[in-house]
């Protein structure tokens, strides 16, 4: 494979385009609403109407507005149709003939769509995730080619550093710095690992990226491998995402067949292979040291750091671990330049962030916005507020490691630092909206139950502390607790936060702490008065 062959594939793919394209969303959300049947019926209708030369029916990734699925986008008229059923789908051909199909039309001028800024999701909903040619037609693998042919590894790292990209898994560590640490570490073998163990309940960004545009992740990984000098990559995916696994397998196979993965990529000395590893349902495996243990086929328990994976990771070799979204940003940074990327976002948080907007909000789905967009814009403008005109109470970000931002503080700009100041975290990007019907103590207990079940049991503060905190929260919820129990709960939060081994335990108290900070009255109104114990020593009289 060389540049000419790559361009030839692109040309051929573009030349085969037809005047009309019906893009059918086949990401998990729409698929569960029956979009595969929609696609089949559309294909049949196109064939029956003899429109095969005019109309292409293309399977694409996420079209964002999951709550209205199955979604079909019609090009070039740029119209989105929602709730398309297998029976009603053939009516879409009316549009091709110039008529108006009797189907519900989505409002593409709604802020939900117009406020989005796509970098990571640029190909999502456009390319066919099951065909590498479709990705190449969208300038895919061009960045990898240019990197390995025209740039030194050190220049690639320089570009990533200058872009200001930070880890999208939640912690926000500067990606360029991580890459340069791995590049500097000695050792013949190095590894690149993609963390696709998206365990936070209420988060589906990584799943959508993998289902909609798996090649961008592979390209990002290959560029990283070139930059740090690795030859082997692993993608660790959750077993709960069967579609993402299938599409990744397909993508790896296609890239290997074209020689984009393998030995001597684009005629350079770079050899790079990617292997898929399927998780088995353990939240703690999202923690990098636990993830590596799991890749090695062991129980996914974390270990103390240092040594950091960048120095001693998989089988003791220097290992670069980045999140799905982080890798997906890399090709765009190299294609458009670091300055372009650095011009988007806020001073300390560059670029965009993908959020999974869900919960008590009208428009649920996938959004990508520049860093620094306010929570209010996201929830009220884009999300359309709570259904039925209910008042929004809080927004939960960061899953079980994050916290709840109350409605009054929704003017906060979303970036790593601002959310941390409010006691929440950016997290991987789950955003759950809660309205008046949501009980905050119940939410805190929900997350504590999660952490209690998912604690790996290696360190005592987390293993025993989460059980105790869960017990106390239940006691409060059932109205059996006193002020003393609340004090114990706060004390435990502090202890577990500061003494746990890994991120799971260290952040487990966050949902409790943040709800205590902003919704303390909900706890206090459940407390019952302290029982007065008769004093053992009676005052002596007379």
């Amino acid at each position: 494979m060389d540049l000419n062959q790559l361009l030839a594939i692109k040309e051929k793919e573009l030349a085969s385009r037809k005047p009309y394209t019906l893009r059918v969303c086949t990401a998990a959300g729409c698929l569960s609403a029956g979009s595969d049947q929609v696609k089949k019926q559309l294909e049949r209708a196109v064939a029956e109407a003899g429109l095969s030369e005019q109309v292409e029916v293309r399977c694409v990734g996420c079209l964002r507005l999951c709550c209205q699925g199955p979604l079909v986008h019609v090009d070039p008229v740029n119209e989105l149709y929602q709730k398309v059923g297998p029976e009603t789908a053939p009516a879409l051909l009316e549009r091709v003939r110039g008529g108006a199909p009797p189907l519900e039309k989505g409002d593409l001028q709604h802020p939900f769509f117009t406020r989005q800024f796509s970098i990571v999701l640029a190909n999502s909903g456009v390319v066919d995730p099951e065909r590498i040619e479709s990705y190449i037609a969208a300038d895919g693998y061009r960045a990898l080619h240019d990197a390995v042919i025209e740039m030194e590894p050190r220049e690639v790292i320089q570009a990533v550093m200058a872009s200001g990209l930070r880890g999208r898994g939640g912690a926000g560590f500067p990606t360029g710095l991580k890459w340069s640490t791995v590049a500097k570490s000695g050792g013949a073998r190095k590894y690149v690992v993609c963390n696709a163990d998206e365990g936070d309940p209420g988060a589906f960004m990584d799943r959508s990226v993998l289902e909609s545009d798996p090649h961008s992740v592979l390209e990002g990984m290959a560029i990283a491998a070139y930059a740090v000098g690795a030859e082997q990559g692993f993608i660790y995916v959750r077993a709960e995402y069967p579609l993402a696994i299938r599409r990744l397998r397909m993508a790896i196979e296609q890239a290997r067949r074209l020689g984009i993965l393998g030995s001597g990529i684009f005629g350079s000395p770079l050899n790079f292979n990617v292997e898929l590893r399927i998780g088995a349902g353990a939240f703690v495996c999202g923690e990098e040291t636990a993830l590596m243990a799991s890749i090695e086929g062991r129980r996914g328990t974390p270990r103390p750091r240092p040594p950091f994976p960048a120095e001693s990771g998989l089988w003791g070799c220097p290992t670069l671990i980045n999140n799905v979204e982080t890798f997906a940003n890399v090709p765009a940074i190299l294609r458009n330049g670091a300055e372009w990327f650095a011009s988007i976002g806020t001073e300390k948080s560059k670029g965009t962030k993908v959020f999974a907007l869900a919960g008590r909000v009208k428009n649920t789905g996938l959004i990508e916005v520049p860093m620094g967009t306010t929570l209010r814009t996201i929830v009220e403008e884009m999300g359309g507020g709570a259904p039925g005109g209910a008042r929004i109470k809080a927004v939960q970000t960061g899953g079980p490691s994050g916290g709840c931002v109350p409605a009054e503080l929704m003017d906060v700009e979303v970036d790593y630092e601002s959310l941390t100041r409010l006691g929440s975290i950016m997290g991987s990007g789950g955003m759950i909206v809660m309205d008046e019907t949501t009980d905050m103590v119940d939410v805190a207990r929900f997350f504590m139950e999660f952490c209690k079940d998912e604690s790996c049991g290696k360190c005592i503060p987390c293993r025993a502390g989460t059980v105790q905190m869960y017990g106390l929260l239940t006691k409060i919820l059932e109205g059996r607790a006193t002020a003393r129990d609340l004090a114990t709960l706060e004390e435990l939060c502090d202890m577990v936060k500061h003494t746990s081994l890994c991120g799971l335990g260290q952040t487990a108290p966050n949902p409790v702490l943040s709800t205590l900070r902003f919704f303390r009255h909900e706890y206090e109104r459940r407390l019952r008065p302290e029982r007065h114990v008769a004093s053992a020593v009676q005052p002596v009289t007379g």
Partner: protein
Amino acid sequence: MIATLGVPKRKRVREALAHASGDKRFKILEAHMKKYQHRHDALIEILHKAQELFGYLEDDLLLFVAHRLRLPPSRVYGVATFYHFFRLKPKGEHTCVVCMGTACYVKGADKILAAIERFAGVRAGETTPDGRVSVLTARCIGACGIAPAVVYDGNVAPHQTPDSAVATIQTWMSHGS
């Protein structure tokens, strides 16, 4: 596996291997191990395959894997019990997985689960005595945009209610009886 502790190890392994002979599924599993060159780090992949073939991981199966990969049975058992995805008991004819992710939870997944549990007469994680339906919960299936979601026999169903869930279970339980 606890129940077998009293039996000498060598005898136990011999029994497990005898059990394995003649079953085609073990052949497929061995081919899979070969694909990974019996590498120890592929243990989780191999357990995935074993569960896919057999439905669940019984003691003999774990012993077989341990023997073939030259790993101590404790290591294999340890891994199999650590991860939620691996089942050590057989599951029902049908499975119903209620997603308990945050988005589903705030939209009433707990009520759906309670309705199913009441109707089927079993708790989450259990199978009905007639072996027809297993009721399970998931941490989050990532279908938050269509919450609350329930997975019936591998198919994700969007926007569920306690009534719609019970209706589906009902068709399973009454079917064929």
